[in-house]
């Protein structure tokens, strides 16, 4: 299934792989946000087929995993401030969808992940990253752009070490997979090409799917594991079927 020409979805065993397609920067604008959210929503609707909830891998083709917001789109509008607002709202919605997703999630950082692209990767339950090229880069300080509250919250919860977070956010450090892995920001650095990174992510996802966890339980536990981030994004997305609470 392809969603526009922006992302493709395939099954590999119990794993659903969403791939940001094409050789470009996979900039997050309304079209790509919509495509990814649609693909993710489709997983919610039919997550498994008797084999348990499955798992998600988000990957990308080409040199970039995701290079951040679509600033060209924002600039092109009559009110850039409104367009930024729209992108931030869409990002919060996507983050809510991922936090509420009833299956484990793995980001395959196949190339550069910058700004909101870096934050998107870190929003997954596990992150594997290509060792031979590509950086994690919170580009905002170099670009002269302030960091929104919900992004700060995401980084505080996912990169709790103050020194690592400072280096990423305040020093604008371009972190290789080796460094990010050593510092606990990503789970593994994977040698080889894009396809090798995706395969490694699929293997991680397959292991998680094999646990046979109840998907809604995974989602609820995730929300209480990252409560500050969930509280900042849950008004924007992550619709879940009503479920009795303990």
């Amino acid at each position: 299934m392809a969603t526009g020409n922006l992302c493709a979805v395939e099954r590999r065993g119990r794993v659903h792989v969403i791939t940001l397609t094409g050789a470009g920067e996979h900039r997050l604008g309304p079209a790509l946000f919509s495509a990814i959210r649609s693909a993710v929503a489709a997983l919610r609707a039919a997550p498994g087929d008797g084999a348990g909830a499955g798992a998600l891998v988000l990957a990308a083709e080409g040199k970039f995993f995701c290079n951040g917001y679509d600033l060209a789109w924002a600039r092109a509008g009559p009110s850039p401030a409104d367009r930024i607002s729209a992108m931030r709202a869409a990002f919060r919605a996507l983050l809510a969808d991922l936090l509420a997703l009833p299956m484990p999630t793995v980001a395959a950082v196949t190339g550069h992940a910058a700004g909101s692209g870096c934050a998107l990767a870190l929003a997954h339950d596990a992150v594997v990253m290509r060792a031979s090229r590509g950086f994690l880069y919170m580009s905002e300080v170099d670009a002269g752009i302030k960091v929104a509250g919900f992004v700060g919250e995401l980084l505080r919860e996912k990169v709790p070490d103050a020194v690592a977070r400072r280096d990423l956010l305040m020093e604008g450090r371009k972190m290789t997979a080796a460094e990010a892995s050593r510092r606990g920001i990503v789970d593994a650095a994977v040698d080889g090409e894009v396809e090798d990174v995706v395969a490694a992510a699929v293997a991680v996802a397959e292991d998680l799917a094999a646990r046979g966890w109840d998907g809604e339980t995974v989602a609820e536990i995730r929300k209480v594991t990252w409560p500050a981030l969930w509280s900042k994004v849950n008004d924007y997305g992550g619709e879940a079927p009503a479920r009795p609470r303990l």
């Binding site: 905002e140 170099d142 302030k146 929104a148 103050a162 400072r166 956010l169």
Partner: protein, 242 residues
């Protein structure tokens, strides 16, 4: 009490004299003035600046002037209250900040060091020491907030705050409190300055840098009295950059 000099893009704030650089009203006031001057000068000069803070002699700072406070709880309370806006000045400063720890930093002095973005310390002598538990003084809430923001290893935080551990540079590095260690005071000061130059050379917009710093530590910023910038204000700024 203190001097401020500008060397290229780097502002060097020196706590002068061979004493303990005890933080009393006069020194706190001087430091605040100097920091404000640095911010003003940097605003005029355009993007790309950094601050290095260093103490002459054996101490970075040995904390609040409890000698002046004596047995007066009121006076001690005054000093605690006076230090808070200095902490705020540092956490809101529109440029990167480096503490060159060529001497001991304890209690309020350690807090000041923690309010900097980076800590470069001599390895041959000197300790970082939150002495309050040993001398029977409580930690003001804003001290707690800054400690929690900057020392994120639970064990390191426990050791510093609850055990009054005297942390030497090498161990400080392992605990995530010290960023780099050099063998002597002179090298520490020189390397801190060099590092500050590198940070200044990134030519970061000061207001953006400070905003990003504050988005890293919102609780600590609130606790020292900094008013949080709204997402709305940040969005307007973003739009203006496009």
């Amino acid at each position: 009490m203190c001097t401020l000099e500008q060397r290229g893009r780097v502002f060097v704030l020196t706590l002068t004299g061979d004493g303990e650089h005890r933080l009393g009203h006069a020194l706190i006031s001087s430091l605040r003035s100097a920091i404000a001057s640095a911010a003003e000068a940097a605003a005029k000069a355009g993007p790309g600046a950094a601050l290095v803070t260093v103490g002459e002699g054996r101490f970075f700072s040995n904390g609040l002037d409890i000698g002046w406070a004596g047995t007066s709880r009121a006076r001690l309370g005054e000093l605690v209250d006076a230090l808070r806006p200095l902490a705020a000045d540092l956490l809101a400063l529109p440029m990167p900040t480096v503490a060159a720890l060529t001497g001991h930093a304890s209690a309020g002095g350690f807090l000041l060091a923690l309010c900097h973005d980076y800590r470069i310390m001599r390895g041959d002598r000197g300790v970082l020491y939150m002495s309050e538990v040993d001398i029977g003084l409580p930690l003001p809430p804003y001290f707690g907030a800054v400690l929690r923001a900057k020392i994120t290893s639970a064990n390191a935080l426990r050791d510093v705050a609850l055990r009054g551990k005297k942390v030497k540079a090498a161990e400080g590095k392992e605990m995530g409190i010290v960023d780099a260690v050099y063998p002597s005071a002179a090298e520490t000061a020189a390397e801190a300055f060099k590092f500050a130059e590198q940070l200044a050379a990134r030519k970061w917009n000061g207001g953006v840098y400070a905003s990003i710093r504050m988005s890293m530590f919102p609780e600590a910023c609130r606790s020292v009295g900094i008013v949080e910038e709204s997402d709305e204000e940040k969005r307007k700024h973003f739009a203006s950059k496009l």
